[in-house]
Symmetry: C2
Subunit: 382 residues, 2 copies
């Protein structure tokens, strides 16, 4: 195999940089998944995960990408013809629609232009018109657009209806404010590889009492992602039904330790600081941000390319010359925006380095960017 | 968390011991999954996986347990009412039936008592009576019973019918003879954590031309496990559609290097040797093997407990006193049999140590076992 450069600065909105402490946790020998050792590990990881979700509900660790738990949330709650309200203002909001369509739900989309945030009053209006909506889905942090949707306020609306409130916090949990029980979230899904700063490949799901009522009356549309199998095995044996990704659970457990040591509040504040610095840096360079201001993510910043800057060339210079990886746009904004992840283990110095590289790459391509690093330093008090 | 002992000898039929070289591969920093670095890694891993499957067909790496790819094989080929012949002589054969039922296939079970091997002539008879069977499933190595089903001979039968031939080689690939194309296997599924000796959490699936014809005319029953999404993304970008378990792919890639360096033929012969030694050891102790002789697995040996030996106590002594982990029975043989995995990185010395521990544990529980280690040494020429 061609030699791979593992040492580039990973500033995409996930997977994110993982601390050496967490990476090295994976070097522990494998333990059997039907042993007391594994039960201790799984139970402990679930307990820590509950603290990060801030929930008294049930939590399960699933071997699979974040999409697996998005799928699980729908496959276990939606029957043919059930009304599903999907809030769509990006690629991942859309994904819930696609999943619900596979399971033959009747999808009602509340759509916003990409870059705009969802409005609780719009959700309320649709719920009033469709009191038989069974499930409402929203993506907290739209990784594809850098938009943060107001999940607390939407939760305040949904709680007064029968509908289940399903929230994707894949790129926010551990980096932004999420309080599953207080926000009235019935099913919260997240991934290991974003703000939790563990390696990708496992994900987690929380289930409220209200959600169990629906799940218990819904035949799972999936075998692998049947949540009842996970519940039954965990309740009876503190195990998972199928062979889990043991090494990734070692890593997640250690990553959760780091999060709880830092403190959720401190961690969110750090993400806010880094987001502010990134925004200040880009705006000082004259770059237009993509997400509208009130709905700007604090874990990923998206920005429009200045005219004449080609995505492939720009990110190619960043990657090849400066060894910094940032993301481009997805779907309808492919080639039009770039995205900087400042999640998890990202520190001040990574933001400054990234902004410096961006300035240089822009200059090389004929766009005269400057002052970004200085502006970010000001915000950071450095 | 209570301190976990990671150092016990892992002699279960998966997950299996992983070499330090492979474990340490996971300590590499995470790379972005939409980068040239990742494409290089994925493409290389897929190519090596093809060499181990021995196929010219398409191969995909899936983030999920082995059960995920079993599910994928059915979810992408079976429509409501389609006839599915499932060969059942253990827990995993049964699992295919359960999966097919979730997707509303009409399941025809060819059942054998646990411990018995499947007979190709029985498969032929059912296919003759039901020429409209769409899919035949078989588990090569029934981890739950220690039975090896004759997948080559069954393949010779199935190839003359329209039915797709789906084979689960989760606990055989890399340890027993599997030759996907020569055995006429249309969909072959495997897991990372058995004879491949990589950590658990990712799995692989091979797809033949004949299988694509069916898949292209079948709407996937699953979103996460829609094989067409994996194909489209891999064909267009050499990527996976959802964030993959990057660290586990590092590990699998390295594990495949070790397999290809040892050579598939040598590796199978090593497994045969270890199986023979294990069998000789147990039989010398007067222990009755569970699987009938012609159908005995070479990667896991199952044996009946002598009268009066309690599973929990026996394996408790092995684990707590001798630090050796073996497996008990599942389902209908729970408490009645024990199983020793001799897969992947298992060596002669592990077999001897395990047999010694088993002798001592039996003695402690009042069953006078002896001579097992000596008999195994004889077989191994030690």
């Amino acid at each position: 195999m061609k030699r791979i450069d593992h040492e580039k600065l990973l500033m995409i909105p996930g997977p994110t940089m993982v601390s050496s402490e967490v990476l090295n946790a994976m070097a522990y020998p494998i333990i059997g998944h039907r042993t007391e050792e594994f039960r201790t590990l799984l139970e402990d990881t679930v307990e820590k995960m509950k603290k990060v979700f801030i929930t008294e509900g049930d939590v399960y660790i699933i071997t699979g990408s974040g999409t697996a738990v998005m799928d699980m949330a729908i496959a276990n709650t939606v029957d043919k013809g059930d009304k599903v309200l999907t809030i769509c203002n990006g690629n991942f909001g859309e994904r819930f629609s696609k999943i619900a369509e596979v399971y033959k739900g009747e999808v009602i989309k509340l759509e916003y232009p990409w870059g705009k945030g969802a409005r609780p009053e719009d959700v309320k209006k649709i719920l009033e018109e469709n009191p038989d909506i069974k499930v409402v889905t929203v993506v907290h942090n739209e990784t594809s657009t850098g938009v943060r949707n107001p999940i607390k306020e939407i939760g305040e609306v949904v709680k007064d209806y029968d509908a289940l409130y399903i929230v994707d916090t894949i790129s926010s949990l551990g980096g932004d404010y999420v309080d599953v029980d207080k926000f009235h979230i019935d099913i919260c899904v997240t991934g290991s590889q974003k703000c939790l700063s563990a390696p990708p490949g496992i994900s987690a799901i929380s289930i409220s009492e209200k959600a169990w009522d629906v799940i218990n009356n819904t035949k799972s549309k999936s075998f692998y992602l049947d949540i009842k199998a996970y519940r039954d095995r965990f309740e009876s044996k503190r195990e998972s039904p199928y062979t889990p990704a043991v090494s990734l659970i070692y890593a997640l457990n250690k990553a959760l330790d780091r999060i709880l040591e830092e403190g959720l509040e401190n961690r969110v504040k750090r993400h806010e600081r880094l987001a502010k610095a990134t925004v200040a840096g880009l705006e000082t360079m004259g770059i237009e941000l993509f997400a509208e201001e009130w709905a700007r993510s604090i874990t990923v910043t998206s920005a429009r390319y200045p005219e004449g800057i080609e995505d492939g060339k720009f990110r190619g210079i960043l990657s090849n010359k400066y060894k910094v990886i940032i993301a481009g746009g997805q779907g309808q904004v492919s080639g039009k925006i770039f995205r900087i992840g400042h999640m998890g283990e990202a520190r001040e110095i990574h933001i400054l380095g990234t902004l410096a590289a961006i300035e240089m790459a822009f200059k090389e391509l004929g766009y005269n960017a400057s002052g970004g690093v200085e502006a970010a330093k000001d915000v950071l008090g450095m």
